[in-house]
């Protein structure tokens, strides 16, 4: 018999959120919650997936965790389902709090819900969905990683991810407007403009840490001559960590606030910044929770927005970026939204030396930050970095063919790749498409 890996997992992480949550639990309580979720919130999907899975292990090579841990079977997609959901089902929910902590750690920090494995399983079993069910159970049990829970609290209390107060939000926009007016005197960031064509929405961290991204978009909107606006009320933030913590109720509330802001402003569409998980939330999960098959208002991700601007020649390129660039395909907009050809069109339009990384498009490796894993905070940085050695190898291969700039059109990917870049000493400059587009576009003198 082959040895089932016996190597110890990376050092046990003590997460206050999970530890304290588990300390309050009993096996009976866990069983009650598990069975309630299974009975009232799951149905044919869970049942059919679990009963159809033939235990063939063919999903293994889909997962970057598995590939990065020398093919340790505990990190294979089905291996993680075995350690979590199968265990829960086998014991009819009678899991002791100690084991439940392990289950929570796997569900929250060892799967990015990237759905790559759904493309590798011959039955198309959606393991990300199964892991989300486990997270839902953990959320209801109150054992969520502390940082992630804090973010979910922020969503609940402020309708944004970063505890930003309403006046701080408006201040930031006006500050960026003033800054940008030094470059383009007539530039405006129109707040609360009813009847505009576009509502532009961003994720909470943009006003908090990366206000220059709002500046860049404002320049783009103004140069392209678009009729746009941003809401001055809660609902401006399109991000959603509640979706990943398992707090579907809060996910619903924040998505409703977002869609309602757009409806109140009577815009034709929502354009969103370069973020992947936010796209998943408005286009896939949040809208469905609220009962919308597709988003109630057309959603245009930044990639598609740039694509349209360049295609319609509303923005022209003065001089292409000439360093070697490679492009990371974020799961949520590529496997989640099919934007891979559009992103290539844009990248080729703004840069002269594009180098593909392999695998790419739908088959690209996840950044290992997605699925809320990066929001589980610093305790899990090594989990992310060690869990994605394969990404470093993939990037290194692109680098050896001349790429020096890595474009990642997603916030989570950006931060996750930054850690990988640093840890493995890859030396990439990591940029958003918007960074380069702003740099190379034709601007009025």
């Amino acid at each position: 018999m082959a040895e089932v890996a016996t190597k110890k997992k990376t050092t046990q992480i003590l997460d206050e959120g999970i530890e304290r949550g588990a300390a309050r639990l009993t096996t009976d309580q866990i069983a009650t919650v598990v069975n309630r979720v299974l009975k009232t919130e799951t149905g044919a999907r869970l049942k059919t997936y679990v009963e159809t899975c033939i235990h063939c292990g063919l999903c293994s090579e889909a997962c970057h965790y598995y590939l990065s841990h020398d093919k340790d079977p505990r990190y294979s997609p089905v291996g993680k389902v075995k350690a979590t959901l199968w265990e829960i089902l086998k014991r009819k929910g009678r899991i002791d709090p100690e084991s439940m902590k392990q289950i929570a750690l796997i569900a929250y920090t060892e799967c990015n819900l990237c759905k790559r494995c759904a493309m590798y399983c011959p039955f198309g079993i959606d393991i990300a969905y199964l892991i989300l069910v486990v997270r839902r159970i953990c959320h209801l049990l109150g054992i969520t990683p502390q940082y992630l829970q804090d973010t979910a609290h922020s969503h609940a209390a402020t309708m944004n991810q970063m505890w930003i107060k309403d006046d701080e939000w408006i201040d930031t926009l006006q500050w960026q407007e003033e800054e940008a007016q030094a470059e383009i005197p007539a530039l405006r960031i129109p707040l609360e403009k009813e009847g505009a064509d576009i509502m532009y929405s961003v994720i909470g961290p943009e006003p908090k840490f990366q206000a220059q991204l709002i500046y860049q978009t404002a320049v783009l909107m103004n140069v392209a001559g678009l009729n746009w606006t941003m809401p001055a009320t809660p609902g401006w933030d399109n991000s959603d960590m509640a979706m990943y913590s398992g707090d579907n109720e809060i996910m619903g509330r924040i998505k409703r606030a977002h869609f309602e802001a757009a409806t109140r402003l009577r815009v034709k569409k929502i354009v969103m910044g370069e973020c992947g998980h936010a796209f998943r939330s408005v286009y896939d999960m949040g809208n469905r929770w609220l009962g919308w098959k597709m988003p109630p208002i057309p959603i245009v991700h930044a990639i598609e927005f740039y694509y349209n601007l360049l295609k319609e020649k509303r923005i022209t390129v003065a001089k292409k970026y000439d360093e070697g660039v490679t492009l990371h395909d974020p799961c949520n907009v590529v496997r989640g939204g099919g934007l891979h050809e559009k992103s290539r069109y844009v990248v080729k339009a703004i840069s002269s030396n594009f180098i593909e990384m392999h695998p790419n498009r739908e088959h690209n490796y996840c950044c290992c930050a997605g699925g809320g894993v990066i929001n589980c905070g610093p305790p899990y940085k090594n989990v992310r970095v060690d869990g994605n050695r394969i990404k470093a190898e993939q990037l290194f291969a692109a680098k050896s063919r001349g790429a020096t700039t890595l474009i990642a059109p997603c916030h989570n990917c950006h931060s996750g790749l930054e850690d990988i870049n640093h840890h493995y000493g890859l030396g990439f400059k990591i940029k958003f498409i918007g960074d380069i587009l702003y740099e190379v576009m034709e601007k009025p003198e």
Binding site: M1, A2, E3, V4, A5, T42, G43, A44, R45, K47, T48, Y49, E51, T52, C53, I54, H55, C56, G57, L58, S60, E61, A62, Y66, K71, D72, P73, R74, S76, V78, G79, K82, A118, M119, Y120, P122, F123, G124, I125, D126, D284, R288, K293, M294, V334, R335, G336, G337, G338, L339, H340, E362, H363
Partner: protein, 219 residues
């Protein structure tokens, strides 16, 4: 011996086929009823075009990335599944039995060929067994039931092969062949072998989600 033979080749055949058909039907209806009851939204995402697109890609050898990454597995599993379904349907001895019982007949394959196809199925099961024992990612998710399922599938083919060649004790292996075939039919709807009826649906749903909502390939 004769009584036993008459029983397993008479009433028990009826039982086996009935359980197989109604069992499969039950699995399908139960799944669809559950969707209807709890996840009705799934129906609204189903797309005929994208379901077919996905099923087609996964039905053609080497048409998917994962199949190309596992060439040996791909060849074995396609050969295995093909022979598994085709052999019993077009085996001369089976066709004759149908003809005798119902005066209803269809074409059959040369006996030399079905003999080889039987071995392909047995070899396939053996290959899956070795995979389970040797590959850590398969072994990790293997439980006793997986071996039992393999045994259930292999048994009718092994015993059928022995009976056909009349090696060892013919009547004994004939009876064993009939019983094991009946066991296989009966267990299909109630074990993971039900993937036979469920797989097209899981595939179709993922195909519809990827094609219709995600605008991405799922192969």
């Amino acid at each position: 011996m004769h009584d036993l033979y008459n029983f397993v080749s008479g009433p028990l055949v009826w039982v086996a086929f009935a359980v197989f058909f109604f069992g499969c039907l039950y699995r399908l209806i139960r799944m669809l009823a559950l969707v209807n009851q709890k996840e009705k939204f799934i129906f609204s995402y189903m797309s005929f075009k994208y379901s077919l697109r996905s099923i087609l890609h996964w039905s053609i050898p080497f048409a998917t990335e994962n199949m190309r990454q596992h060439p040996v597995m791909t060849i074995v599993t396609f050969a295995f599944h093909f022979c598994l379904i085709i052999t019993p349907l077009f085996l001369l001895a089976h066709v004759i039995l149908w003809d005798e019982a119902w005066h209803f007949s269809w074409g059959h394959l040369p006996e030399g060929l079905t003999d080889i196809m039987t071995l392909v199925v047995v070899f396939g099961c053996f290959f899956f067994l070795i995979r389970r024992l040797r590959l850590p990612e398969v072994q990790f998710v293997t439980s006793a039931s997986d071996y039992i399922i393999l045994g259930i599938v292999a048994a009718p083919f092994i015993t059928g092969f022995l009976a056909y060649h009349q090696w060892f004790n013919y009547p004994f292996f004939m009876i064993l062949h009939i019983i094991s075939g009946e066991i296989m039919l009966i267990t299909i709807p109630f074990t993971r072998l039900a993937h036979m009826v469920l797989a097209p649906f899981t595939r179709a749903y993922m195909g519809s989600e990827f094609g219709g909502v995600r605008h991405a390939r799922d192969w």
